[in-house]
Amino acid sequence: MAKELWKGNEAVAEAAIRAGCRYFFGYPITPQNEIPEYFARHMPEHGGVFVQAESEVAAINMTYGAAGSGARVMTSSSSPGISLKQEGITYIAGAELPVVIVNMMRGGPGLGSIAPAQSDYFQATRGGGNGDYRTVVLAPATIQEMTDLTQEAFDIADLYRIPVLILADGMIGQMMEAVEWKKPKPRKLPRKDWATSGTKNAREHNIINSLFIDPKDCTEHNKKLQQKHDRITQNEIRFEETMVDDAEVLFVAYGTTARICQAAAQKLREAGVKAGVFRPISLWPYPEQALYACANRGSVKAVVCAEMSMGQMIDDVKISLSGTKPISFFGTGGGTFPTPTELMQAAQDALKGV
C-alpha cells in the first residue's frame, strides 16, 4: 500500500478504528487533543460512539463499563490526565477487562509542561494505582510503529483480558510521518462470554467485579492474575537492536529517545566509536534477558541509559544487567530532549570511565 503522511495523534486514533475500536471516551489535555478530536469526527462514519467525558476519571470509568459490556474501547490522555485515570486502571486490571489506553507523555511533575517527556515510566510500568496488577506497556518510536502496535494492543488486551498502555510522548503525538497501513496478522481471540450484555433469560448473570471480600478469594484472584502476568512475560516481550553486533558502547533507550540514540550511534560510528542501541518496545514485560544477552555479548564495555526523564527506566536496566556492566545515565526531564551531540559525549565519557 502507498504511504500516507499522518500526524501521530490522528494516526493512533485511525489505527484504533481500523482495529475495530468503536467506543472512545476522552477528555481534552495537551498534547493529545487531536486523538479525541479525530474520534469525534470519524466515529460516526463507522457507527461508533465518541463521548467527551466530564473528567479523565469519568472517561476511564466509561471505558470500564463499555469494556465490561464486550466492546473494543479506547481512552487517551497525557501525563496529569493519566494520573487521574489510575483509579480506573486498577479497577480494569482487577476486573480483567480488555482496554487500550494511550498516554502522550508531557513534562511533570504536577502540571509540568506540555512538551514531550518520558517521566511517566514508573507510573506506567509499576502501576500508579493500588494493588498487585500489571498493564502491558508498549512504547513505539515512530508513528508507523505506533499504528502497528495499536492493532497488537487491542489483540493483547482481548487475549489476556488486561489493560494495555500505549506509552508515547508529545513528540510522537504532534509530528507527522509516513505511514503504511498494514493488514494485521489475525490472532485467535477468545469469545467475550463473560461480558454484561443482558442475560436474555438464557444464562446465569454475568458479573464484572474487582471486589473479593473474603481474603482467601482475593488471594486466589491475585494468584490467577500473576499466572496471567507470567504468560504475558513469556509471550509478549518486544525489543529492537541496532548496530549491536560489535558495539563497545551500548545505548539503552525507548521511544523518541531511542531514535535520537540511533542517530548518535551512527555518528559515533562515523567517528570511529563502535556504538549500538538496544530499544525495549515492551516496557512491561521488560526484555530483561534480551538486554542481558545483548550487553554481555563480549564487545560491550559500557552501557548508557538515556531517557527524557531524570532516570526511571534505568532501574530496569540495572535489574536486567545485575551488575555485569558499568551503567551511566543521560537524561533530561520536564519537556526537553537530548541532542545527538550530548548523547555522543555521554557515550564517550562512559567509555573513558571504564
Binding site: 473528567s55 470500564y64 443482558g198 442475560t199 471480600i213
Partner: protein, 252 residues
C-alpha cells in the same frame, strides 16, 4: 394452594448482608419487582457502587457491573452506549452519589444519559460505620461529627433530587421513602415509572429513596422509621421534582 407472594425473579437466592431493619433489602426487592413486572430482567444491566450497595451485583439476577466509589453513572454510561436497547441502572448510596460521585451523576444527567439512578439516602455512611454524609442533617450525630453536624463547619445537607431536577437532561426525578407499606407501594411506582421513561428514551431518571440505617443511627428498626418520617422528610420533601416525559417529543 394459590401463590400470593414470592421472592422476585429479579433477585438471586444469595443471602443478603444487610443489618436487621435496614431498608436496603426493601429497595432491592422493589427494583427487582419492577424489572420483573416490566419483563426486562434479561435485558437489564445494573451497576453496583461502593458502600452498603457494594454487593448488589450478587443480589440482582440481571447482568451486573461493580463500579469504583462514585463512578457508577460513568460506568453505566459506557454500558448504555454499548447496549442502548438494554435498561441500565445504578444503585448508589448518599456518600457514593452525593459526595465522591457528584461530578459523575450531574454530568450523566446533563447528557440526558438514558439510565436510572436508584439513590438510597439514609443520611449516613453505613458500610464504613456511621460517618457523616453530605445528606446528614444539621445536628445529627455521626462518628465524624460527634457533636452533631455543624453548619459553620460542614454546611447544610444537599438535596440531590431537587438539584438534578434543574438539569434539562433529567427526565424524571422523584423522592420517595420506604418507611411503611403505603410509602413502599409509592416507591415502587416511582421506580417503575423511571424505568419506563428510560426505555421510552426520555433521558436521565433518578429515584431518591429515604431509607433507614438503624445500626448507625443507634435506633431500633421501628424507632428508625419514625425518625425518618419526623426528621428526614421535613428536610427532604417527598414528591416529583422533574417530569419531562414529553421532553423527547418537544425537542424534535
Amino acid at each position: 394452594m394459590a401463590i400470593v407472594y414470592q421472592r422476585s425473579k429479579g433477585l438471586t437466592d444469595a443471602e443478603q448482608h444487610f443489618c436487621p431493619g435496614c431498608t436496603h433489602g426493601v429497595v432491592h426487592k422493589l427494583v427487582a419487582e419492577a424489572l420483573e413486572e416490566l419483563d426486562i430482567i434479561g435485558s437489564t444491566i445494573g451497576v453496583a457502587s461502593v458502600g452498603c450497595s457494594a454487593f448488589a451485583y450478587n443480589y440482582f439476577a440481571c447482568d451486573m457491573q461493580q463500579a469504583a466509589h462514585g463512578r457508577a453513572p460513568a460506568v453505566a454510561t459506557g454500558i448504555k452506549r454499548v447496549h442502548p436497547d438494554c435498561a441500565v441502572f445504578t444503585y448508589q448510596g448518599d456518600g457514593d452519589l452525593a459526595a465522591i460521585g457528584t461530578a459523575e451523576i450531574v454530568h450523566a444527567a446533563m447528557r440526558g444519559e438514558k439510565i436510572t439512578a436508584i439513590f438510597v439516602n439514609n443520611a449516613i455512611y453505613g458500610m464504613t460505620g456511621g460517618q457523616m454524609a453530605p445528606t446528614t442533617l444539621l445536628g445529627q450525630k455521626a462518628t465524624t461529627a460527634p457533636q452533631g453536624r455543624n453548619k459553620e463547619q460542614h454546611g447544610s445537607p444537599i438535596r440531590m433530587a431537587e438539584m438534578l431536577s434543574t438539569i434539562d437532561g433529567c427526565a424524571y426525578a422523584e423522592r420517595v421513602m420506604v418507611a411503611d407499606p403505603a410509602s413502599i407501594v409509592k416507591a415502587k411506582r416511582a421506580i417503575k415509572k423511571a424505568f419506563e421513561l428510560q426505555l421510552a428514551g426520555a433521558g436521565f431518571t433518578i429515584v431518591e429513596l429515604l431509607s433507614t440505617c438503624p445500626t448507625n443511627w443507634g435506633l431500633t428498626p421501628v424507632e428508625a422509621t419514625h425518625w425518618l418520617k419526623e426528621n428526614l422528610v421535613p428536610y427532604f420533601p417527598l414528591g416529583v421534582f422533574a417530569d419531562r416525559a414529553e421532553q423527547k417529543e418537544e425537542t424534535r
